[in-house]
Subunit: 289 residues, 6 copies
């Protein structure tokens, strides 16, 4: 009985957070270790379902991961990356779409449903959700690597009103019907803006932004948009973290209240982010807040 009571107290401790996030929309970029480690995977699904049941509106955007390369290789297709981005010709795009929409997305949908949620998988083609265009400003032609031109969130609105959890594959289409592979962080940021989300959470495999990359004790818990430029100059924000910070910046300037870069390797990282005061990882916000 004692143990039961102490469990009840934990629930009660969560109450202020539940109240604070009631009715709020949270867009989660799901990727990294949390997507490959079976135990972490289950925990994310549980977290998302719990979020839905206590009144939040979670929306998942997932990336691709090693699965795309694996299938490509199996189909005798050369795998090539330039600057962290996959070079994608027409055939590669078809394989990428098949894996993202027909495999990874569906696995997430099935996992959420197994935990009692009601997920619906969406690609950027469904309901014209993601209008893409060829990425600009790249020095090399990466093929069908796109960036988001416009989000049409009506299909998400229809689903959320009916209690479904949208799970989005980062595949978009341009005005001519050409399919593009988009960066999942970028898609998550654009979707968060279009949904006027309260939070954007990017799951990564690192603890957040570290002043000294070798020392987790130098984690920057909170960051103002205004400080990023100088941190980039100093080399604190660099490499794979750079586009993530840029995505957060775009989200904040587009009206999202807060963004979070968290370590998906931590058990129930999503829940901890929402149900603890300090959160985990690096939180970004605008000056005036």
């Amino acid at each position: 009985m004692k143990e039961l009571i102490s469990k009840a107290k934990v629930l009660i401790e969560a109450l202020p957070y539940i109240k604070a996030f009631y009715g709020k929309t949270v867009v989660v970029k799901y990727g990294g270790a949390a997507m490959t480690d079976p135990r972490l995977k289950e925990e994310v699904m549980q977290d998302v379902v719990l979020m839905k049941y206590v009144g939040m509106n979670p929306v998942l955007v997932h990336g691709g991961g090693p699965e795309i390369s694996r299938v490509m290789e199996k189909m005798g297709k050369k795998v090539e990356f330039v600057g962290g981005r996959r070079v994608t010709d027409q055939e590669g795009m078809e394989i990428t779409e098949m894996v993202l929409v027909g495999k990874i997305n569906q696995e997430i949908v099935a996992a959420i449903n197994r935990h009692g949620g009601q997920a619906v998988g969406l690609s950027g083609k469904d309901g014209g959700l993601l209008l893409s265009r060829k990425i600009s400003g790249s020095q090399m032609d990466l093929g069908f690597v796109g960036e988001i031109k416009r989000v049409s969130p009506q299909v998400i609105d229809a689903l959320e009103r009916d209690k479904f959890i949208p799970v989005i594959a980062p595949v978009g289409v341009d005005e001519n019907g050409q399919t593009y592979n988009n960066n999942a962080d970028d898609v998550a940021a654009a979707v968060a803006v279009a949904l006027k989300a309260d939070k954007l959470v990017l799951m990564t495999d690192v603890p957040g932004i570290l002043r000294d990359p070798g020392d987790v004790n130098t984690l920057l818990s909170t960051l103002r948009v205004q400080e990023t430029e100088s941190l980039i100059q100093q080399g604190v924000i660099q490499g794979g973290m750079l586009p993530k910070v840029k995505a957060c910046e775009r989200a904040l300037l587009g009206g999202v209240k807060k963004t979070h870069i968290i370590n998906g390797k931590i058990s129930h990282a999503l829940l901890l982010e929402i149900f603890t005061d300090r959160g985990i990882g690096t939180e970004m916000l605008k000056e005036e807040e």
Copy 2:
């Protein structure tokens, strides 16, 4: 961090129960020690607010307790009980109503609101909620002690749709406008039937129905409506427990799914009842379920 993760796990363990009770109406008779002990009081309020936030529709019915006698004595009014029921003349009825509606009910409302809920106090007069009549079958005239003739739950419907938590004082009125004091267990049972509630929970100061009243290890966890008669014959159900069992019986026959007699002296008893498999106290249900 470890402690945080273990807390997150407790939340996740609650998920199946949250799912199971999502959208369900739970009528709680609030009384006994849980209403006089300040710590227990706070815990009940927390439990109720949590229930609301995770999607249940809790409705509270409270009793009077020692406060009525205290005010009566202060106002120079004799306090008299017959068979556990307060003898209530016109002046006594007025004091009773004043204390129930203007003091106890408002304290509960304020406490729920302090914990972030949105409570609204109701007496049986509000919106014609409780139509009473003089109690029948009593050997002695107890004065204005009533029983419920009809519940008109429209005012509760209006409030629940708008996210309020109804808190009901067991004061009723007959067709001629005469006020009656009603037993709170009976009111809770009648309201549960009128609302087609999924659960009726009676908070008491005992662990439930004990086969041997001196031994808590003889607790009857589950009881079928059909077994009560024989248990009354055997003297297992007797005294103050008898009318409570009768109230549960009426609720079950009226369509309520399950009833529970629980020990309000246990910390977070309400939460434990709902968020654990076995529940606590004695659960009653109909044969076929």
Copy 3:
């Protein structure tokens, strides 16, 4: 038959007024003789129910009257007034709340229901309706005498949509949960502003504002907000009338269309105010109207 026809004609005469007030919200401060005289009391209840049925949305705010002092004395509590306001310590506040919410409010609710309306009693605690704070600017500490800081009218909205008549006791609560006794005229004005009411009617025991207090023929039928200052200077508005005029002023500046100070001693004063061209008592409005 002739008599019947002449009655029908009276109904027809009311038609333009019914049309003019269809769908309008009218907040009524109910107090004074109309609350103590049994015949006047019945008439007010009839008027209110009629208003509801012909399409208006009446909202009642009541004061306390002699009942509070009577109960206080009975409970051996000293009754003390300073500048027309009751000195209220913690125990006095509890008694005041008990009488206002548990007795006076419930009597009004029961009376309206007896006449076929569907009243619901509310205190400022219900649904967080009235946020109070200690009255400022008073030279003496009156204890828990409050003023209104904010009105949260959601609970009234919920009830009006469902055809109920809200009856409000002027009890408020501050951010720390401390209960305050508020002036009913002030509460009525604040509620009228929060509901964007079309009319605020203050029932008093005098005919309105008289230029010569001894001569009812000097009644000021209409008053512009701009004229009040000069009338106060001249001593025409003074004593108990002063806070009432101030309440009207606040209501008008807050967007209420018209306010009325009427004589509750007149039979069906409320109805006359609404169903006659000139109205009765003193009407106040803003310059531009």
Copy 4:
């Protein structure tokens, strides 16, 4: 002031009737003297507008009256009646429709609007309201005299929800598009059934059904459907009253709660019917009520 108060009392006396008829649908066959006498006409319009404002849903069905013959004669068309029914050839039908829909109906609409209502004129063609067929069982061919085959009340439903008062001309159309002139009493009865009306009121120029036609003191105030057959046998119900009683019978059997045959020559006859206990004229109902 005294006079005002006594007027207020008359309004209050109306309250029980307003409550009793709140939200009820009342279909009125408007005809006879009430349609030709200018003063009576105005009074009916006032009555109808008042009914709407106090929460009823009045629906008017009007007849033709002398106007049709007047226009026919002016257009050099022979006027002919057989058994109280106008013989109607194609040209006569066109004139009849023009007068009913383009003149009488519009005059009523304009008069209601002048009194503050929002009337909308409808013929049986509008929204396919009245499907007619050639009257059967007539010994002589009367031409395009029809009876009602089906009422499609969707257009009335659309208008009532938006606070309009429907005014119906008794013109119908058959499956082939042929226009028919229908008896207004029959149309009123059929519309009352289709709308599941609470009341059907037929305005006539006589006091109701008289046992002795020469003596108004022999008025039958209440009649059961079961008694009509015997009263027809006895010759008490005969002549022009016979089809009216038959229309009432059909309405009652079709589910209308009560029907009334009243004297439209009385000032505010409609209002008296509704706002007095005994009503006026002859009321008909079914046995079990």
Copy 5:
């Protein structure tokens, strides 16, 4: 089968137009040959019903035509025109209304219904649709010839939401209840503005605005509002075309997107106007579009 397939292709060709006009409101002034030639009449009705079924909201306003004069003459009333407008005394107004509302309007309603639509006839009196006043600026007193002062489109809103097609007779009424005959083009323009229509279509008996009236090859397909003044100066727009162009101008300035003057003598002119790229007749729009 081949013929069937080629028909299917025609349907498919219509798809872009159906999409473009989905949910759009189109006000049509129906008059001229299209109203007198039986075959053209049927075709207009078919066109209107089709427009409704493929998702548009057509609203018809019809004129009077030769029928009014015919009935007037039959009733021994002198027919007189001044400057193309009918001189209308009180008796003439009554006949005009009777014919417009009771004959022409009802024929159109019946015809639409025969083709499977759900039409409802409205005059300017119904629901207070058209508030008129005596036409100003006329050198001669034409009697009750009016111009539109205000449109109250609530009755149309009520009907459109319920899938009905409104058919409007150009009869209006002033504040004193006096009936006026209004020009149907003017009514159509005013209704289009009040409904924020996307299109106003005026059906005439000419191909549109011709630079050389004798040569259909000089048709002006598109016209900017800004060009009309100069075309009037040049005498290109003159005679009966002048008031039509003025009506279009008012509609465009009032917010209607496009106006069209088309030749109602062409089979399915309405459909062609909507389901072809170039449209037919003369299209008018504002500069900026």
Copy 6:
């Protein structure tokens, strides 16, 4: 102009069919040549979009076709069929799902969107749409070949209310989360029953049921459910047609009004089926209709 008018006439000819199918749900099994021939493909998409715009609710269920085998072979996976059904082990199931959901489904969605529709792709996992189980009664173990146990159409309901066109891949999942490949005809029939569809259309590569398979003139246009058994006995219904007829039978017994087996090789076969009197192919219905 003449050509235009004759096109308008074709549109008008479609009107009765548009009316007849307004608001009706039509489930289409899309497969065969219509899915591989690029021109036919485009035509089907146009037909579906047109159906949506003229008020129908089309729902597409597609099969897999040669694409699955192609990808399997490319990935070095053996392709094996038994009795027309693909033998599907775990790895084969993953490839099948990837191709069905991530390739074929998305191509259809993109094509519909390109023609102006708003399609949303769904697998049986999305929103728990298709609950499957291992196919029973098969003599050989085919692996993860499933049959439909339950359809949960809430996700379709949510989408249709918002004007989206659902496109369903026949992938289901059992209670343990195991994925199954289902026959698309069976899925279409089950979905049609769950949606209470008015029509089920199965697109094939043959003209329908032929009494003599070699002679298209022996096409059975209409078939009663009751006749199928005898036609199976006679060998008229056999081979690949047998399961299709069985699917139709289940749909009809489940409440679908009509089913159609049509030749998808005909241009605009869907449109012809709906917009012609006789339809094309073989129509099946129940006796009583």
